[in-house]
Every structure is written in structure tokens, then in C-alpha cells.
């Protein structure tokens, strides 16, 4: 069948069962957007910034398990999605980004809106392509979707020169493809799996540590069955939250820098650590040489390059977590680890996550109330920093794809556009962006996208007037020198100030008025007793709502493992930090 490149792209999006695309048009992609115009099978969501488009596609993918699609123009359109590609790459999210490019004859001539997109995006994509022959367009797009969603998923970019978009081609779409350099090991080695089960059977103090791979592979049910059969204690990474229900007794909490004491002590003391779909990130391990110092390591991961990347692994199993856990279940039996579980139970009981309950409005309380009011059912997106850590600590995630957060790259400004994707993929769910007052301003323009698409997203800004996480580090490790972290600060303030108070200039912007100017509902809450009713009202109204919670300005995320310290070293205050620095 003869058609143009643009028509072929639309046809392929249909065949790949894409129903929602995010993007912004521009010069070279006008013919592509023309082909999309009025298409009934594709909901074209136009964001206000390309970064919003790529994060929305990412949030759509994370919350649904489908592949997110984003279309932007050449040059600045493409460079604006680089952060979003890196975000998706770090967290293994399947996204296909289509970027316009100047006509092939102009490439290399510094043409208007030209950028070397494949060159720029190489280190932040799983793979990228530039189409130089229209006849290859279908096969390249087929490969792009295949690579994005299989194995360890990731973003794939396809750069589309304008003449390719407008060229005529004979369309045929391959049902299957073979990519010689791309082989995925799905099934785990049977003998290795038996060795793993032997090691688990012999361990006296085993801990299972699961990450985002469990969610990506859809292995939550298998993990739950495995844990219920064996009685293994489970710690989760930030990316793994929801992969095992946070309400179950085997759950130790998140581990790592802002993990629970129970999780970190258990990992520190364990004699066998079973990592599933996790990658021993530095925020998890702390000081590498002192991570789980008594443990033998088992690592189950689909990416061979993850094995022994930082921690040297004793027993690796390469393959898909779902498949391997399913196999492991065949040999699973209850473990005799009563003593160990008692020790863990003691840590859990004596070190719960807490905060100061002094009647003031603490951000942790708001997260708890979000959990209560939504009965733990909402999809939570987060920005990055303290808000993200409190959202991880004080909301009990019970199902996969419930927490949508930028873990690896730590992209501030992620949560609001990600909520757009999550809400579009899950129209029946309540979607709440737990935000900081710093992060939310990094993609605040997407409030317009939310209103225009009638998405009833709720934004809960934990407004402490600071770039809170950086301020916390400054308080702990930089002698309270709040350099560039105060968001109320204006040019009349003293050069040096670490005393937030009534003398401070007014906050800019007024978030309530800002919400209203985007035709969203704006609310401000500064008292603890008003939190619950505000949340109930926000969820009741079928509209986007932005809640500005004025919280204690100098609240800290605790416990905290200082960067580079072993994870058993957990501090909770400036005094602790001073002791740690002296020791």
C-alpha cells in the first residue's frame, strides 16, 4: 500500500495499539501532526513544554505497563526531552520518542532548528535511530517498540528527517523481527535457581530486597506467594514500592538512605541477601565496602550488565523476575528463621517511622492523611526531594504501579506531568501528585494541560518555603548555611539568613491564585485540623485541585544515612550529624 511517511507512522501507532500520545508540534513535524489531525483512535495530548510531554508519556507507561509515546519537533523540541529520556532510562521505562529532524540534505549544515539528536541522546536512551531511507521507516519503528518494551525496558528515540515524513513509501509492517545484537534471557538457569534455593534454605538470617524490576516484569504476585511460603522478610527500594504490599507483616519498609531502621539493620546483619530486580544503587548501599558485610549475595536481574556492577555477586541468575520467582516457588518451603524474625520484629517495634506530633502542620501528617482519605487506593506521583521521601515513607503502597516517582535520575518537575499520563491511563483512579514547592514550579505550566483535558488530578504541595532536601543537608552538614535554598528570599533579604519567620517576604507565587488562573481549584491549608476536610473536598470535586499546605519550614526526612556512610549509620538531627562528622 502506498502512503506517506507520516501516514505510515500513524498506521504503525494504531497497529502497536497506542491510544494516547503526548507532544508539541513544530516546523518539521507539521506533516506528521497533519496526519494525526482528527484521528479518532489516538488521543493527542498537547502539553505546554516538551519536557511535560516526555514525562507524561513516562507516567502513562509506568502506571499502565504500556509503552508511552511522545512526538516533538527537531532542535529545541528534541533537546527539551533529554531530561525526560534520561529519567525514563534510569528507571527502565518503555517510551518511544519520535523527534522531527531537518531534511536529510540539510543535516550537518547547522540548519534552522537542527540538533544532532541521536548524538545528544545516545547516553540517555536504550537505543536510538535516525531514519535515512523511507522504505526502512516501518521496520525501524517496529524495532523501536520492540526494544523499548522488552528485556530491561527503556526509552527509544527515532529521529525523523522531514523528507522521510513526507516521502511516499510502499507500506508493509513486519509481524515479527529479529535483531541480531539484541538477545534477552527470560528463563533463569535451572541449576542456578536450585543453588539459590539451597542457599536460601541454609541461611540463618536471609533478607529479600526487591526493586523496580519486580513491577516491570509483573512479578508482584509471584513475589508475594514466595514470601508467604518462605516467610522471608522483604525490604523494597523506592522503585520497588508497591511490588510487595506495604501492609504485610513481612515488609520491613524501604531500605537505604531514607529507609527504615528495621530494613537497614536487617540488611546490615543478614547472612544472605536476595536481590530481585534491583541494582544496588548507591542510595541503597551507602558505603559499598560495608554494605551487608556478612552476607552472601544472590542477584536476580534481566540485565546481565547489572550483575556485579557494584557489589560482587556470589550467585547471579539472569532472567525475568516473574519467570524466575515462579520457578523458585516450586522449591519453596517455610524457612526456620524464627530467631531472626524476632530480632527484626524488635527493630520494627522499637524504631517505627515517626515525626514530631506537636500540633503543628507536619508534612508527614499530610501524607498519612492522603493515605487515610483515599483508603490507600490512590495513584501517587511525586516530585523529587523531601516530598518524595515522605510519600515513600508514610503511604503504604499495596499494589504495583501505584507509586510513580523519578528514582534514578531524581528529576524535579517530574510529578505533575507524570500525573497527566497516569490519570489518562487510569481514568477511574484518584491521582495525587505529592509535591514540594520547589519541584512543582519546574513544570507548573502543565496545569493548563490538566485543565484542558479535564483531568481531576490533585496536587498536594508540601510548602516549606525551601528546596527542602538540600536545606536539610545544609542544616546537617554545612553548618546551617542555607545557600540558595530559601524560596521566599528576595533581594532585600540579608546576605546570610537561616531563620525563617514572619519577617520573611511573601511567598512567590501565590499558589491558590495561580491554580485559579489555570481554572483549577486552589486551596490553602496551614492548620493540622483542616487537612482531612481539605483533602476530602479536593477528592470530592471532579476538577483539578491544587492544595498549598503550609508546613513546618525546617522539617527533616529521617532517618537519614549520610552520603558515603554504611547504612547502619542512621541520623535524625543536626546533633546526630555533628557526632557522625566527629567520629
Amino acid at each position: 500500500m502506498k502512503m506517506t511517511g507520516a501516514q505510515a507512522i500513524v498506521e504503525i501507532l494504531h497497529r502497536e495499539k497506542v491510544d494516547t500520545i503526548f507532544g508539541i508540534p513544530g516546523g518539521v513535524v507539521i506533516p506528521l501532526f497533519d496526519a494525526l489531525y482528527g484521528d479518532k483512535k489516538l488521543n493527542m495530548v498537547t502539553t505546554k513544554h516538551e519536557q511535560g510531554a516526555i514525562h507524561a508519556a513516562d507516567g502513562y507507561a509506568r502506571s499502565s505497563g504500556k509503552t508511552g509515546v511522545c512526538i516533538v519537533t527537531s532542535g529545541p523540541g528534541a533537546t527539551n526531552i533529554v531530561t525526560g529520556l534520561a529519567t525514563a532510562y534510569m528507571d527502565s521505562v518503555p517510551v518511544v520518542a519520535l523527534t522531527g529532524q531537518v531534511p536529510t540534505a540539510s543535516i550537518g549544515n547547522d540548519a534552522f532548528q537542527e540538533a544532532d539528536t541521536t548524538g545528544i541522546t545516545r547516553p540517555v536512551t536504550k537505543h536510538n535511530f535516525i531514519v535515512k531511507d523511507a522504505a526502512e521507516l516501518p521496520i525501524i519503528l517496529k524495532q523501536a517498540f520492540h526494544i523499548a518494551r522488552t528485556g530491561r525496558p527503556g526509552p527509544v528515540l527515532v529521529d525523523l528527517p522531514k523528507d522521510i515524513i513526507t516521502a511516499e513509501l510502499n507500506f508493509s509492517y513486519p509481524a515479527e523481527i529479529r535483531i541480531p545484537g539484541y538477545n534477552i534471557t527470560v528463563k533463569g538457569n535451572t541449576r542456578q535457581i536450585k543453588r539459590v534455593m539451597e542457599a536460601i534454605g541454609q541461611a540463618k538470617r536471609p533478607v529479600l530486597y526487591a526493586g523496580g524490576g519486580v513491577i516491570t516484569s509483573g512479578a508482584s504476585e509471584e513475589l508475594k506467594q514466595f514470601v508467604k511460603t518462605t516467610g522471608l522478610p522483604v525490604a523494597l527500594t523506592l522503585m520497588g514500592l508497591g511490588g510487595f504490599p506495604g501492609t504485610e507483616p513481612e515488609f520491613l519498609g524501604m531500605l537505604g538512605m531514607h529507609g527504615t531502621k528495621a530494613a537497614n539493620y536487617a540488611v546490615d546483619k543478614c547472612d544472605l541477601l536476595i536481590a530481585v530486580g534491583a541494582r544496588f544503587d548507591d542510595r541503597v548501599t551507602g558505603k559499598l565496602s560495608m554494605f551487608a558485610p556478612h552476607a552472601k549475595f544472590i542477584h536476580i536481574d534481566i540485565d546481565p550488565a547489572s550483575i556485579s556492577k557494584s557489589v560482587v555477586i556470589d550467585l547471579p541468575v539472569v532472567g525475568d523476575a516473574k519467570h524466575i520467582l515462579h520457578e523458585m516457588l516450586k522449591y519453596a518451603k517455610p524457612l526456620k528463621i524464627k530467631e531472626w524474625l524476632k530480632e527484626i520484629e524488635n527493630w520494627k517495634n522499637s524504631h517505627p517511622l515517626t515525626y514530631n506530633d506537636d500540633g503543628m502542620l507536619h508534612p508527614q501528617y499530610i501524607v498519612e492523611q492522603i493515605y487515610n482519605v483515599t483508603q490507600g487506593n490512590a495513584i501517587i506521583t511525586t516530585e523529587v526531594g523531601q516530598n518524595q521521601m515522605w510519600a515513600a515513607q508514610f503511604f503504604k503502597y499495596t499494589r504495583p504501579r501505584q507509586l510513580i516517582t523519578s528514582g534514578g535520575l531524581g528529576t524535579m518537575g517530574y510529578g505533575l506531568p507524570a500525573a497527566i499520563g497516569a490519570q489518562l491511563a487510569n481514568p477511574e483512579d484518584t491521582v495525587i501528585d505529592i509535591a514540594g514547592d520547589g519541584s512543582i514550579q519546574m513544570n507548573i505550566q502543565e496545569l493548563a494541560t490538566i485543565t484542558q483535558n479535564q483531568l481531576p488530578i490533585k496536587v498536594a504541595i508540601l510548602n516549606n518555603g525551601y528546596l527542602g532536601m538540600v536545606r536539610q543537608w545544609q542544616e546537617f552538614f554545612f553548618d546551617k548555611r542555607y545557600s540558595a535554598t530559601c524560596l521566599k528570599r528576595d533581594n532585600r533579604c540579608p546576605e546570610v539568613c537561616c531563620n525563617p519567620g514572619p519577617q520573611c517576604p511573601p511567598y512567590v507565587p501565590d499558589f491558590v491564585k495561580l491554580a485559579e488562573s489555570y481554572f483549577a481549584v486552589g486551596m490553602r491549608v496551614d492548620k493540622k485540623e483542616d487537612v482531612e476536610s481539605a483533602l476530602r473536598e479536593a477528592i470530592r470535586v471532579d476538577k483539578p485541585v491544587l492544595m498549598d499546605f503550609i508546613v513546618c519550614p525546617e522539617e527533616n526526612v529521617t532517618p537519614m544515612v549520610p552520603a558515603g556512610a554504611p547504612i547502619r549509620t542512621m541520623i535524625s538531627s543536626k546533633e546526630d550529624a555533628e557526632k557522625y562528622l566527629l567520629a
Partner: protein, 168 residues
């Protein structure tokens, strides 16, 4: 222990692949000390020989990262296998008419060839393993080296042994 490793990689013969692989090494903090690339018996593929410094663990990581890259078809570590390594050098030396005979003789010992001659220069070609090439350069130094062009090594395993295309 830090040492030198020779890795051979069969890759897609497409534009951008070289930049991609070079970027992969620099992005992860590995240093390439030699690199040579050329088309193979199948024009769809190129073969790269990459020489890197590091320890066994670093090498293992590099191989995994290379394998992970979709345009890489196969990776061999030829460091500890029976393999043939060759690099090529073109070396231009000062050669007054009176000195030419002497330099010819040196070239002969190194199985070098004279590829260009002018009134007061000689350009020699030699191939071999790195040590031989180094020795060749050193012995020519006193005559005055004007220019050197040197390739990275190209390496291939011996026979049908391990590390050959037909045997893993």
C-alpha cells in the same frame, strides 16, 4: 591488577555505531588506548579491535556494557587466547643521501618496506605486535623522526579455537 586487554567486537556496519561505542566507553569512565575498525567478510558488519587498560572486573563490566548495546553482535576477549595481533606503522625519517643505506638495512631487519623516498626523507612501513613497532621507532629515533602514523592493533584468534567466529 591493572593490565592491557584486547577485545574484538562484531558490530553493525552503520553510521553512528563508532561514536556510540566510543561514547559508551568514555561515559562509563573507561579509557580506550587503541581502536581499529574495518568492514568484515560480510559488509553488513564491521569488526572493531579495542585495547583497554583496567583489571579483570573492569573488563567484565566493559564486555557486559558492549554486549548490552544493540548494534554489537558479538564480543570476544582475546587477551588470554591464542590470537594474532598486528598493527601498522608509517614512519617518516630524515635521511640524507649518505644515511639512506643504513636506514634501508634497519628496515630490512624489521621486515619494513620503503613506501616513499625523497632527497632527504624516507617513509617506511612495518607491521607487527606493539613491542616490535616500539623497537622500530626507537632505533630510528637517532636519525630524526619527522612524522608517525600508526593504527591500533587488529586482532584475530588462531584456527578454529575459542574466540573465533565459528567457536563462541
Amino acid at each position: 591488577m591493572e593490565r592491557e586487554y584486547t577485545i574484538a567486537a562484531l558490530v553493525e556496519n552503520k553510521s553512528g555505531v563508532l561514536a556510540h561505542i566510543a561514547g559508551l566507553f568514555s561515559g562509563r569512565g573507561y579509557n580506550i588506548s587503541e581502536l581499529s575498525v574495518g568492514e568484515t567478510e560480510d559488509p553488513a558488519y564491521s569488526r572493531m579491535t579495542i585495547v583497554v587498560k583496567g583489571d579483570d572486573q573492569v573488563l567484565e563490566k566493559m564486555k557486559k556494557q558492549l554486549n548490552r548495546f544493540i548494534d554489537v553482535i558479538k564480543v570476544w576477549d582475546l587477551s588470554n587466547l591464542p590470537a594474532v595481533h598486528r598493527e601498522l606503522i608509517l614512519i617518516k625519517v630524515k635521511a640524507q643521501p649518505a644515511k639512506k643505506q643504513e636506514i634501508f638495512q634497519i628496515a630490512e631487519v624489521f621486515k619494513g618496506k620503503v613506501v616513499d623516498i625523497s632527497h632527504d626523507t624516507l617513509t617506511l612501513e612495518s607491521t607487527g605486535i606493539s613491542d616490535k613497532i616500539e623497537a622500530f621507532i626507537n632505533i630510528l629515533k637517532p636519525y630524526g623522526i619527522l612524522e608517525i602514523a600508526r593504527t591500533g592493533r587488529a586482532s584475530i584468534s588462531r584456527g578454529f579455537g575459542k574466540g573465533s567466529k565459528t567457536n563462541g
